[in-house]
Amino acid sequence: MSSLSKSPWILHYDASSCNGCDIEVLACLTPMYDVERFGIINTGNPKHADIFVVTGSVNEQNIDVIKNLYNQMPDPKVVVAVGICAATGGIFRECYNVMGGIDQVLPVDVYVPGCAARPESIIDGIVKATTILEEKYKKMKESKSLVKKGRV
């Protein structure tokens, strides 16, 4: 299991963010912050990803895309909402086309605050997410072994 929590792959999707948080997520990958030292790799393929990093809020058009991406990810998976937009809708909350934070559609595990969220806090959020990922994996395994033993 440690292989999972020690090198989680992330999938980043820009829901309806202003780009501010997106470029900070990208900045995390580059030499200054370099999350690859934690084994974290940004992948473009949902089927390879363990952690779903979403920036921006949900709107009519992207709600299906978000659900779709999440459903394609293998279990166990963790959702990290980056930025205030992803948490509540933030400054755009009152806009007619904004339905609110990511938790309107997905179960969010970690919220990263900030507008724009700073790379340090994004990294912190992702590292927290790895712990949750590990817990989820353990639970999954337990329930599976219970099924095997015929206790459920």
Partner: protein
């Protein structure tokens, strides 16, 4: 005739940091037509003027796009200041220009990095972003924010840069110039990079004009149009020439942006030299009544701000025409007949900013 297939591209795609969806109609390896569908980042920002008053709205304007954030704030406040006849202090105007050029630097470097990533040159991508961090450090030190500065306001700026820091900026620029030279050398002369860029996606001068391209896209096709020549901000007191190229291919678009990096450095140097002493803001009283049309040169091209006030706290209308919107017709033209493998590069060479296009 070979059979046609449709390949969906996006909205979530590894080369796209932002969601845009294209249906690519293909004949073998060639793209015959590209049909865009948008709306994934639409929020409805323009309507928000009904809920936030004109002083507050600048926070929203800055978040139209996180990359040219400062220039959106600048355009918005310029328009309001014109309507209300506010005389902005000289020092504030110079500071705005300095920050605007810093955002151009960081935006162009970001773009160069993404372009390198699109043709698979990971190392170059990392290097561009490494240099970019140095610019962000200066920005953070002077404004407090890394990407959303929050330092522009109606009637001036919120922060001053002290003389010691201004001197340091001068020194840092010399360092930056050297590093950017190294990077640009790779983009301009490296054999593999050239193979991917030279002659790919040629936009002729006529097409650029007819399709209404703006910014580096247009200048690479040989049209010398730069809104900074209108002399807003402190640009009328600084010396510069619009940078143009003639071939209009991806290589030239890259070259224009690289030259603009050096141009921005020179503009910041001049501004730091000439910046006058004095206050950085004036008090704003009353409400805007009237309309104004502000035009600015953003890293991606010309942005237009139309603002109409009705004498109350809340504006009647804010309308933004963003550069990417103007460049999309040109992009669709470029995509017709290109190779499938070149699609990511062509999309990137217009330097798309979807979040400001859809708002």
């Amino acid at each position: 005739m070979s059979r046609r297939t449709i390949i969906p591209f996006g909205p979530q795609h590894p080369v796209l940091p932002e969601p845009i969806h294209l249906d690519l109609v293909m004949e073998d390896e060639k793209v015959v037509e590209a049909i865009p569908s948008i709306g994934f980042v639409h929020r409805g920002l323009e309507k928000l003027v009904e809920k936030k008053d004109f002083i507050e709205y600048i926070y929203v304007a800055e978040r139209i796009c996180g990359i040219c954030s400062f220039m959106h704030g600048m355009g918005y406040s310029q328009a309001i200041e014109q309507i209300m006849n506010i005389e902005v202090p000289e020092r504030a105007v110079f500071l705005r220009t300095i920050w605007a050029e810093f955002s151009r630097l960081h935006s162009h470097l970001l773009w160069l990095g993404l372009l390198a990533d699109a043709f698979g040159f990971e190392n170059l991508f990392m290097n561009c972003w490494r240099v970019r961090e140095k610019i962000l450090d200066i920005i953070e030190e002077t404004t407090g924010g890394r990407v959303i500065f929050g330092s522009c306001k109606v009637g001036g700026v919120r922060k001053d840069i002290d003389p010691v820091t201004l001197k340091r900026i001068d020194k840092l620029l010399a360092e930056l110039e050297k590093e950017i030279k190294d990077i640009s050398n790779v983009f301009m002369n490296e054999y593999t990079v050239k193979r991917r860029l030279v002659g790919v996606g040629v936009l002729s001068k006529e097409d650029a004009h007819v399709l209404g391209a703006v910014g580096p896209m247009m200048r690479a096709s040989g049209i010398a149009q730069d809104m900074r020549n209108l002399g807003y901000g402190a640009y009328s007191k600084l010396e510069f020439e619009p940078i143009t190229r003639t071939n209009g291919d991806s290589y030239d678009r890259c070259a224009v942006r690289i030259d603009e990096l050096f141009q921005s450095i020179s503009l910041i140097r001049q501004a730091v030299d000439k910046i006058p002493e004095g206050p950085v803001d004036v008090k704003v009283t009353g409400n805007p009544d009237g309309e104004y049309f502000a035009r600015l040169e953003q890293p991606r091209g010309e942005v237009v701000y139309y603002i109409k006030g009705n004498g109350t706290k809340f504006l009647d209308r804010v309308r933004v025409r963003t550069p990417t919107f103007a460049n999309v017709p040109a992009l669709l033209k470029l995509l017709q007949g290109c190779d499938f493998a070149d699609v990511p590069i062509l999309i990137l060479t217009i330097d798309p900013c979807i979040s400001c296009t859809e708002r």
